[in-house]
Amino acid sequence: MKARLGPDTSNPDFSPFWEGCKEQRLLVPSCRHEHLNWPPRPVCQTCFEWNDKWVEIAGRGSLYSWTVVHKTRLQSHLAETPYVVGVVELRGTPPVRMVGRCEIDPAAAMFGLELVVDFHRVSPDLTLPFWRPANPARASAQAPAQAPAQATP
């Protein structure tokens, strides 16, 4: 993937996440009751206590939904169309869903596809997470889209 116009990694509500990515770790905000929060917000969306720490979450999840972007007005992504953007559900309490580029064949995208995180170092300041199939053999098969199993609580 090419370099692109990046986010402001010094934004205090997000900078621990970007620091984690540099170390190839996914960090998410949490409150004193250990509720996970994503996307990052100052206050826990489960108990409304302050989110006062960042905790590591395993970089493994399943594909919750996706789109294949064929037209984009983002100059940074023009050369990459068509590409898959997915919502990836990670196990946690409550579950965390991350939006990310998925390096998968669009024809092989299917509900529940197991994905693992990988990291792309764009610049010294910015490392972006993206997602690869946990089992590449399965992901390249022409699997039909399947009816979902129970995914969320």
Binding site: D8, N11, S65, V68, K71, G100, Q146, P148
Partner: protein, 380 residues
């Protein structure tokens, strides 16, 4: 009781070559004349869409300067929500007669890319979404549509029905941008892919133009010729995780999930009482989604419902009889209110619904905030 006394609009098209102030003035004056009123009768103003200010409306329509005013958030929920705000101004005694107006050069100067920069939750857009190549409404909502297809078996054939129905109404509506541009199933399926599963004809138009509506507690002046339509109820709501989509527990629970039951209850009506619906149709799937949430069909049944012909000409619930945002023009839903008024006055021409007594109008904005207005005809 509060009602809609008048509606007015400009021509809908591309590259109007006109200023927003000129569009505002034309639609506002037309609505005031249609209401049988004079500019001096207006004592409240709501500019809709985020591109125009109260002062543009006052100057353009020659209104009194000491008006009550308010501005709804600029997304697609703004038009129906402005009916709620107008009601609030009137019921609180701050105004009797409110002019609501939207104007935009949506195909030329005020394109969607600019507006998404005004949406709530910009930090998520810039930090987490845009770097991953996810940046436009068509891409956000495609994600919900895909999930619905997986979960309920909704098909592209069913999405096609929404667009085909809108285009077939537009062929009978000379005001529609796509009048004279019939859509076939083949053309729908062979159109360019934008964000899978959305192709070109799943997407709304971009439009230059203006629409205005006069909401009032007044009855029409005797001999004015005005035909008042009753605002029976209007309610708005927003979903959990209101500034982003991905971590919403239930992707199908939206603002309309709260607004629709509230509106039905206040109007003492049920979905079966509704003769036609103007559903905010930014994209085809959003129509299915809102039909389900508004109670016109069961959860997950939107696909079979539209495939049955229910929403088309002569169907059990004609939807967007003007052609909607898909085929008449994108006036951020203000044109949906104008069409509901025409239906209830019996002025909808070839697309008139027989004995239309109750029309539902919905709004859908940005991350799923929503509204429902229930409008009713006066006994004639």
């Amino acid at each position: 009781m509060i009602g809609i006394l008048g509606v007015g609009q400009t021509e809908f098209g591309r590259r109007s070559g006109r200023s927003l102030q000129s569009l505002v003035a034309e639609a506002s004056r037309a609505a005031i004349v249609d209401a049988g009123l004079k500019p001096a009768d207006i004592d409240g103003v709501i500019p809709v869409g985020g591109y125009i200010h109260v002062e543009d409306v006052l100057a353009g329509a020659g209104l009194p300067l000491q008006v009550a005013d308010a501005m709804p958030a600029p997304g697609g929920n703004a038009a129906v929500d402005s009916l709620r705000i107008a009601s609030a101004l009137i019921m609180s005694g701050q105004a009797t007669t409110v002019l609501i107006v939207l104007a935009k050069n949506g195909s030329s100067a005020n394109r969607i890319d600019d507006r998404v920069k005004l949406l709530p939750g910009q930090q998520f857009r810039t930090q987490l979404e845009r770097p991953q190549g996810w940046s436009a409404p068509v891409e956000w909502y495609a994600m919900i549509c895909r999930r619905h297809m997986l979960e309920f078996g909704t098909t592209k054939e069913q999405l096609a029905e929404v667009s085909l129905s809108a285009y077939s109404f537009a062929q009978q509506n000379p005001r529609a941008m796509q009048h004279g541009k019939a859509l076939t199933r083949e053309k729908y399926h062979s159109s360019p892919m934008i964000a899978d599963p959305y192709q070109l004809y799943d997407c709304c138009l971009e439009t230059d133009g203006a629409v205005a509506v006069v909401v009032s507690s007044r009855l029409p002046a005797a001999g004015s010729g005005s035909r008042r339509v009753e605002l029976l109820a209007v309610a708005s709501g927003r979903p959990q995780s209101p500034d982003e989509l991905s971590n919403r527990h239930d992707w199908y629970e939206i603002g309309l999930s709260y607004a629709a039951p509230a509106a039905y209850e206040r109007a003492s009506l049920a979905p079966e009482d509704i003769d036609g619906a103007m559903i905010y149709d930014c994209f085809t799937f959003e129509v299915l989604h809102q039909l389900e949430v508004a109670g016109f069909c069961g959860k997950g049944k939107g696909g079979p419902f539209v495939a049955s012909g229910a929403i088309g000409p002569g169907g059990s619930l004609p939807v967007n009889t003007h052609g909607g945002l898909l085929a008449e023009g994108h006036m951020t839903g203000m044109n949906h209110i104008a069409e509901a008024v025409r239906q209830l006055r019996g002025e909808a021409g070839a697309n008139q619904i027989d004995e239309a007594r109750h029309i539902a109008v919905t709004g859908w904005g940005d991350w799923g905030d929503g509204s429902m207005a229930l409008l009713g005809g006066r006994s004639r």
